[in-house]
């Protein structure tokens, strides 16, 4: 009985391993799905045997994060029996450098599926591989099993970040301070009344503006950040503003970059400020 259990465990583990390697996305392990990516499939790792002996060409048939409608140029199949007539746009390309039965499809996932990147990260990419004529209609189906690829989002936010990331001089902007992930242990578990923001911006004419000098920040109520006590951002601090108004930026000039430092109300040295200088250079979304 013990041997039987071990054998079953090994078989299950082997199945999971082989299935996990049958399809993947590159670049990885994190992927910017708004850029060019490759969906890879290794047909030597799939478990369905109906494609055994076939040499291609092979086609992708995909439905997640979104199944494309009949009028889309990248719809899975065309005609009255789409399963028997895969779309030539979805033909896979062999990549012998990765293996004799490895194929890929190149796409920008958000463009290909017509979704936002949150959909790709939350739903992943689901596909199967088939020849142009996938059989069926009374004949056996020719296809791989369903292959599900989990797509990991890049870690995009620093300890101090702007929300939205796309920041404009004349738009509402919130500076966020993610205190729970602060690297400087002296700033851990910052109290609700103890969080102040130093902000210095460089303008389009190369001049700089700051609301207060770093050492005066703790005496300026407008620079006090508000602690968020519930929801998705719980434990973080925020300060919302329209930068031009908040920093009295003259008309005709815009912010090119900004530096943010968070500190305690009373500053007595390094442990009382956030780590790093947190330069943000993506004002005006360029």
């Amino acid at each position: 009985m013990k041997k039987f259990i071990i054998l079953v465990t090994i078989i299950i583990a082997a199945f999971i391993k082989s299935n996990a390697q049958a399809a993947w996305i590159e670049p990885g392990p994190t992927t910017d799905v708004t850029s060019v990516c490759r969906i890879y499939v290794d047909l030597s790792k799939i478990t369905n045997t109906s494609l055994d002996g076939l040499t291609g060409p092979f086609y992708m048939w995909t439905w997640n994060p979104r199944e494309l409608p009949a009028n889309d140029p990248n719809v899975n199949g065309t005609g009255t029996q789409p399963w028997k007539n895969s779309n030539d746009n979805l033909k896979l390309t062999p990549d012998p450098s990765k293996g004799p039965k490895v194929y890929y499809y190149e796409m920008i996932p958000t463009d290909f599926y017509g979704v936002n990147k949150g959909d790709v990260y939350s739903k992943g990419i689901s596909l199967l591989v088939k020849p142009k004529d996938g059989g069926g209609y009374g004949a056996p189906d020719l296809k791989s099993e369903d292959l599900n690829i989990k797509v990991n989002a890049p870690i995009e936010r620093d300890t101090i970040y702007t929300l939205p990331k796309c920041a404009y001089t004349d738009e509402i902007l919130t500076i966020m301070y993610n205190n729970p992930v602060e690297r400087n242990t002296g700033m851990s578990n910052l109290g609700a009344e103890d969080c102040y923001l130093y902000i210095k911006v460089t303008l389009s004419d190369a001049t700089t503006v700051e609301k207060a000098s770093f050492f005066d920040v703790g005496t300026v109520p407008a620079l006090k950040m508000t602690k968020i006590t519930e929801g998705l951002f719980s434990g973080q601090f925020k300060l919302t503003m329209i930068p031009r108004e908040f920093l009295a930026i003259p008309n005709g000039k815009t912010i090119v970059s900004a530096q943010f430092i968070v500190r305690r109300k009373d500053f007595n040295g390094g442990p009382d400020r956030s780590a790093g200088n947190n330069d943000l250079k993506y004002f005006e979304c360029k």
Partner: protein
């Protein structure tokens, strides 16, 4: 006599049980509630959110407190007319503040179109249905930016207005 009484009582009880168990007939639910009438009122901002569409998982941040530092914007919809009072608010997102309005679909609207007095146009997504009984009008507006030749989604605002009686 006693048996007749018992028999009658049994019949009566059975009848009551059977009748009470009969399914009620569905009554007509009536006409579709008018959304064009539902929106015709005065509205004042009660909640505001920013959604960072550029991130992998768009996060919604409540920025109502910021709006409350100044005058809250109000909207007024008449049969075809639109007025937004945004003087003194943190920022105006409603063009010239006057114009006409329409829905993409009068029975099941998803978008609200505004034609401002200077002939500029705006589109807001409706965040929920807006019948005469609904007390909250949810509007969403998404902003984009251009990177190279590509149009990229940036962020959205969601405004919730409360009906003013």
């Amino acid at each position: 006599m006693k048996r007749i009484f018992k028999f009658t009582a049994l019949i009566l009880a059975t009848t009551i049980i059977v009748v009470s168990c009969r399914p009620k007939k569905f009554s007509d639910i009536g006409d579709v509630s008018s959304k064009t009438k539902g929106i015709q009122d005065n509205w004042i901002l009660s909640h505001a959110y920013v959604v960072d569409e550029a991130f992998a998982t768009p996060d919604k941040l409540d920025i109502t407190d910021f709006y409350k530092t100044k005058t809250l914007p109000t909207l007024k919809f008449t049969e075809t007319g639109f007025t937004a009072l945004t003087t003194g608010t943190v920022k105006n997102y409603f063009g010239t503040g006057t114009g006409t309005w329409s829905f993409d679909n009068t029975d099941f609207p998803k978008s609200l179109y505004i034609n401002y007095s200077d002939n500029s146009k705006d589109t807001f997504l409706l965040g929920s249905t807006i019948r005469t009984t609904d007390l909250v009008l949810k509007l969403k507006k998404t902003f984009y930016y251009t990177k190279g030749t590509a149009k990229k989604i940036a962020y959205s605002y969601i405004w919730e207005f409360t009906r003013q009686n």
